[in-house]
Amino acid sequence: MEIASVKNLTFTYNGAASYALKDITFSVKKGELVLLCGKSGCGKTTLLRMLKPELTPVGNITGEIHILSHSADNVPQRVSAEKIGFVMQSPDKQIATQRVYSELALGLESMGKQRNEILRKTAEISAYFGIERLYRKDTSHLSGGEKQLVSLASVLSCEPELMILDEPFSSLDPIAEKELAQTVVRLNRELGLTVIIASHRIDELFEYADKIAVMDSGRMLFFDKPCKCVFSIADNPLIYALPVSARLYSDMGFKKEENCPLNIVQGRRFLSENLKPIKQNTIMYDTIENKGETALKLSQVYFRYEKTGDDIIRCASLEIKCGEIYAILGGNGTGKTTLLSLMSGVLHPYSGKIIVNGRKITKYRFGSLYRGVISAVPQEPSEMFVKDSVDEELREMLTDDNTELCQEIVVRLGLDKLYDRHPYDLSGGEQRKLAFAKALLNRPKILLLDEPTAGLDCNSRSEIIAIIKELAVNGISVVIVTHDAEFASECADRCALFFDGRIISEEGTKKFFAANSYYTTASVRLTKGITDICVTYEDILKRIGADKNKEVQ
């Protein structure tokens, strides 16, 4: 039985030059888990909102949409509110009330349910999700992962038949992401709930999905089972988003779709069957040590927010050389952003020294620190934007000597198509790119990035990696705070683990990831113990190439 079906849907926003969705056709059966992926701005959010009548954008619609056996423009208000659940991207912006229990009760109050019934339903849903201890808490005191869980529970308390999630993992760290993903799978498997979820990070859900939908520029490129996916989009750059195991299967020349490995376990089995066992446990291609000058140095820095509080930064020391790309990884809420704020001079330590380009950070007067020395991009890129269009935002950063640089950056990041848009109308990924461009136009010697790839698709990520590498070649140091192990493994020269208020382990990238078991890349998890440890997918390909060469010889 079909819960939602779309036929030849074409949609253009009012006043827009080009279509947002073009000729889309697909249908979702009851109980299916559908994973929707595609580049930033390809139309995923627009498509998902077309399936929720209260959120459908205004514009020109042609084609048919049927949801829950009603036509999309005829769905009764009550049915839509109750039976179609929608969870949005931002954990903070979705929460409407001050206490968790009122948030959970929101939907039920709208249905006009009585107090006893609301109490029972919210108690039940809290028990199912394991969030009873959060019931009376203030919503502003929750972590990102907890907020998303509360939003999900709130939507579920009304017992919907169709659950739509629009990039719920973007702002979450890996642990919270895994938990939320497993919860979504549980909902689908245990309750038979139909789920449509859009995400850039598809590793977690790839094997559980009944259908994968791939979109590009408003069109639906692929809508079928996961095992067929890697073969159908072989020529498309979107393939880089797919799990390593599946890509490996296809790159090694295998064609049988049913045997395509979808997760790490299957991938490891496949690899050990098809690769000559070389148990050297060596790491492929070590990184060269940087022997340049010191750009930024922290010496036994201590910091806390309140006099009576705990130390957030406790005797932290690190040294970053010119032209080095340094990644700091660590758990959620441990203080990485605080460390970055100390480095950028926004916060001041109560003990210890911070030296930037050979001078103490306190000696930089009158904002000279931010003119050509340091630039920082915050976790929330929209905090940088105060103008009404992308063009004005970029213009504000123009000086005499960076006009050419501006043109180059804009074209590489694809911002030239977005000049007239209001910064807040851009998708999350596009906002991040704009913030990155603005920081670069300041011509800094040291660039500080806080989660530069959150919510970014793999193409934009590759572009940013390329730009960062070029900056490093030109002698600019880049410090990145990130959860994204894949990004750090491809980009950084050195990686550090932040824990207990300081840097506790610092190594060359390859050594770092090869030694870790959790904060590590999918490639490491795939190859550790089976063959030489490969940190990135390119390493795996090189390893297979070496194997093939040996065979030929």
């Binding site: 912006k93 929460i95 009330t97 929101l106 709208s110 340091i374 929209s382 905090e383």
Partner: protein, 295 residues
């Protein structure tokens, strides 16, 4: 982390709390009798003391009361016992006494209002509204969430702008320009945020008619007793005051504190009324100590 840790008294039903605080504040305000005034102030101070008083607040409050007392005779020249003559106008003893009483009453009301604001958190206020106007309560709830958010957002935007060199506070003009652009960014950001929250609420049916209101408050026997007592005692006290049985005259001469059957009863009731929160907390503390000592 305990989100509503302001003692056992604040855990009572919001209706009880509002009735109680209204009774005690109205009774205190209406009094010009030193017994009422002192009882009101002492009750408020004792309740506040349970949660710790900073030395600084004591100093400020005492200073404030002293100023009020001393300033009153400058404006009120009634009374027949002049102490000083300033600019030909009399600084009388009666006016000083009256000023003293007013100071005590004002301080008492201020402290009670502080207690009220700590006990009546926003979700309790919304609950009281929600019984009759559920949609307004929802809108209010969403709005109240924004206030602390605005402040945090303002600071983050300042920081973000600083880090790309677009926030300079070298001189007043630059600083003003930078702040203005931050405010415009903040306004845009808040509007965007509000839009998203509104979408989220709409998606869950906030626009539907016939909305109910959910809450976790239970009205117990304790609540009933305290509400009834507060109502009855405040009505009685107001009756006694308006009927003039407990009138304390300052002008033309400082009178005696009225002591008759009715006024004595009203004094007793007022003292009990203002001591209710303090006794409530003491009782709770004693029960805990007792239970712990049995372990």
């Amino acid at each position: 982390m305990n989100d509503n840790n302001y003692g056992a008294f604040s855990a009572l039903h919001p209706l009880t709390l509002s009735i109680y605080f209204m009774s005690v504040i109205v009774s205190t305000v209406m009094s010009s009798n030193p017994v009422y005034a002192c009882a009101g102030l002492i009750g408020a101070v004792l309740y506040k003391m349970i949660f710790g008083i900073k030395f600084r607040s004591v100093v400020i409050m005492t200073g404030f009361m002293t100023v009020l007392t001393l300033v009153n005779p400058f404006f009120s020249h009634y009374g027949n016992t002049p102490l000083l003559f300033i600019n030909g106008k009399a600084y009388t003893f009666e006016a000083l006494v009256y000023g003293g009483i007013t100071a005590v009453v004002t301080a008492g009301v201020l402290l009670w209002c502080q207690g009220l604001s700590k006990c009546m958190t926003s979700d309790k206020v919304i609950y009281l509204l929600g019984r009759t106007l559920p949609k307004t309560a929802l809108v209010l709830s969403g709005t109240l969430r924004f206030i602390p958010l605005c402040r945090e957002k303002f600071e983050s935007i300042c920081r973000a702008r600083k880090c790309i060199g677009r926030f300079s506070d070298d001189n007043v003009i630059d600083r003003t320009k930078s702040l203005l652009s931050v405010f415009s960014g903040l306004a845009g950001s808040m509007i965007e945020w509000a839009g998203d929250t509104a979408s989220s609420m709409k998606a869950r049916g906030a626009a539907l008619k016939s909305r109910t209101s959910f809450h976790l408050f239970i009205f117990t026997a304790r609540d009933l007793i305290i509400s009834l007592f507060s109502c009855v005692s405040s009505i009685f006290i107001i009756y006694v005051i308006t009927s003039g049985r407990a009138e304390f005259l300052c002008y033309p001469y400082v009178g005696n504190i009225p002591v008759n059957g009715l006024s004595l009863w009203s004094y007793a009731m007022f003292i009990v009324l203002s001591l209710i929160p303090f006794l409530f907390e003491i009782r709770e503390a004693m029960i805990w100590k007792l239970r712990l000592s049995k372990i």
